[in-house]
């Protein structure tokens, strides 16, 4: 019956795999050719790709509702890196520890594998990678004979010096993401790392070193209070800060690697005048992983699709078309390699959503100066101790 409806339709006995992924803005879209290639390699298999909603929060909600219902209707999922432990703990993902060869695992940036590991098992394969990094105006730093900063204190001092005199006079010092959202948690976390602490300590202790965390947060507040970072930072996300820096309005910017291409594009006001450096404590890992739904009826084929899409040729094809970076440092532009290798995952815990959602308003209140950093962190700690069961 079905076969009669259209000539090109798959035969009735074809296995149908469904891949759920967020849209990749690329020219041309790299995914369809890759999926057709997979189909040629596996006769009798058809892969349908179904895009997810646009925003991360809605994507997360979509997954939770469908996976909790136990009839997800998809085999392979593209997951934001911070969701992997949560979905693994919920029992929605297939344990890939036995299937994923150690030799291949070792080729990925360590942070990406760490982010997919929970309870000693791996639950997803890194697909595309993002990492926070520092952009600086190489022309302005050179005018003052400065090398890129190694600490946030040095960064602030350089920003003051460059914006105080010479060609950089009157520019904004340091742009970062201070709006009340996930990006703020990422920025503060990077400051925590530079200060030698973290959000979750060994054994899942919340804010294990309160004094260092408080000082790191107070430092960010001070950047705003002293004008090293402009007030717009308080409401800014990646794009707003990227545009301001791209107009030539600032000396330093914390952002993801995608901005680099835009700064070097024809007609860019800062073309040829932007340098990149690792963030002082390492940049946070972003990006996406591929996982297999435990409810998939074809786990072996689904795994083969994951393996195929995460293999070097597919990652390179995606990188060429979209600018999304491979998860293997060897495949990344040499200028970025050190930065990618130094990436650090956000706390790898099933409770990350709760952790982040609880922190966001508190961190925002602290950087805005509405609450003292000590008070904001104490309020967040009290709630997290209540929400998160130990051991985390």
């Amino acid at each position: 019956m079905l076969a009669a409806c259209g000539g090109a339709r798959a035969p009735d006995d074809a296995v149908r795999l469904v891949l759920r992924h967020s849209r990749m803005v690329g020219d041309p879209d790299p995914l369809p050719p890759l999926l057709r290639q997979f189909e040629r390699l596996h006769p009798g298999v058809r892969v349908a790709s179904e895009p997810l909603p646009w925003t991360a929060d809605v994507q997360h909600q979509f997954y939770v509702i469908n996976l909790e219902g136990r009839s997800p209707g998809f085999d392979v999922l593209m997951l934001d890196v911070i969701w992997v432990p949560e979905f693994a703990r919920a029992g929605w993902l297939l344990d890939l520890s036995e299937r994923w060869r150690a030799a291949d695992r070792a080729t990925h940036a360590p942070a990406t594998v760490e982010a997919a590991t929970l309870g000693g098992r791996v639950w997803a394969v890194p697909w595309v990678m993002n990492v926070g990094l520092l952009y600086y105006r190489s022309d302005l730093l050179a005018a003052h004979g400065l090398a890129p900063p190694r600490t946030y204190e040095e960064l602030a001092a350089q920003a003051r010096r460059v914006t105080g005199a010479g060609p950089g006079r009157g520019l904004d010092g340091f742009l970062w993401q201070g709006r009340q959202y996930e990006g703020l948690v990422v920025n503060i976390l990077e400051s925590f790392w530079a200060a030698g602490t973290d959000l979750l300590g060994p054994g899942g202790r919340v804010l294990p070193d309160m004094a260092r965390a408080r000082d790191a947060l107070a430092f960010r507040r001070e950047l705003l209070a002293a004008g090293v970072s402009p007030a717009m930072v308080l409401g800014a996300d990646e794009e707003q800060t990227r545009r301001a820096f791209g107009r030539g309005g600032a000396v330093f910017l914390r952002n993801w690697p995608y901005a680099r291409e835009l700064f070097e594009a024809a007609g860019s006001a800062v073309r040829g005048r932007v340098g990149i450096a690792p963030l002082p404590g390492g940049g946070a890992l972003g990006g996406a992983h591929l996982a297999v739904s435990r409810a998939s009826r074809h786990p072996d084929l689904a795994w083969r699709l994951v393996e195929f899409l995460a293999a070097p040729p597919a990652q390179q094809a995606i990188a060429a078309a979209t600018g999304l970076h491979p998860t293997r440092p060897a495949l990344v532009d040499p200028a970025l390699r050190e930065i990618f290798a130094g990436a650090r995952p956000r706390p790898v815990t099933p409770w990350y959503q709760t952790l982040s959602a609880t922190l966001q308003p508190e961190l925002s209140a602290a950087v805005a100066g509405v609450k003292s950093p000590a008070r904001a962190l104490a309020d967040a700690e009290r709630r997290l101790e209540y929400f998160l069961p130990g051991p985390r």
Partner: protein, 285 residues
Amino acid sequence: MKRGERALAVALVAPALVVLAAVTLFPVLRVLLLSLERRVPVFGIEEFVGLRHYRFLAGDPVFWHAAGVTVTFTVLSVALEVALGVAAALALHRLGRWRAVALGLVLLPWCLPGVVTARIWEWLYQPHVGLLSRVAGGVNWLGDPATALPALVVADVWRTSPFVALLALARLGTIPPALYEAAAVDGAGRSAVFRRVTLPLLAPVLLVAALFRTLDALRAFDLIFVLTGGGPAGATETLTIHAYRSLFGTLQLGFGSAVAVIVFALVTAAAWGYLRAVEGREAAS
């Protein structure tokens, strides 16, 4: 009533009661029970904790902050809405030929869906580009913790004052002209007429309008969710936004339900207070 009639009455009302119970009573009880549990469904966590969530909330500065924001938002927006609604009703009442047209225009904001209203105000408040930001010299209304809540109040007042105006206008139309004539004979000035005649006669209607508006404002969600999402710096985080984020953002169903129950209690208390006030007036008159 005879026994047979009584049985018939019960039988006739029963379907409606069953439907009501299913759509209101059941969810309320369900949420009430949920609020006594620690429940995170995706991790299979289900544990009876009694009143623990409520005890935690009682000592939680974040919760009290959200409660404060909720009350501030409600008091400010309802007060402004009643004042502006009455003013608009008085102006409309005096209009002759164009009243129907003017009434239509005044009612327009109230007819728009909440999310559409929110998007319109998002444009107006857009830093540097939006009209209201530009007039004020580039103020970032929604991005500044000090101005975000007032900005939300303004948007809410714009949307819902027409509701108050409509109710007040209907009442104005039923005040007998003889009362005004008598007041004029007694030599009352315009402000005296307003204070001694118009306002007392409007009061019952205004109480009802304020009741409806208070209940809506206490559980306001759409406008705040779209415009600020509770930020910046938690400055616009009302109890409903807080409950939403606990329920859907972090899937803490038990804890989120406890916050929702408190909103429910707050709304019920407000309704009870207003009804007492209305009854008091009726008993006095």
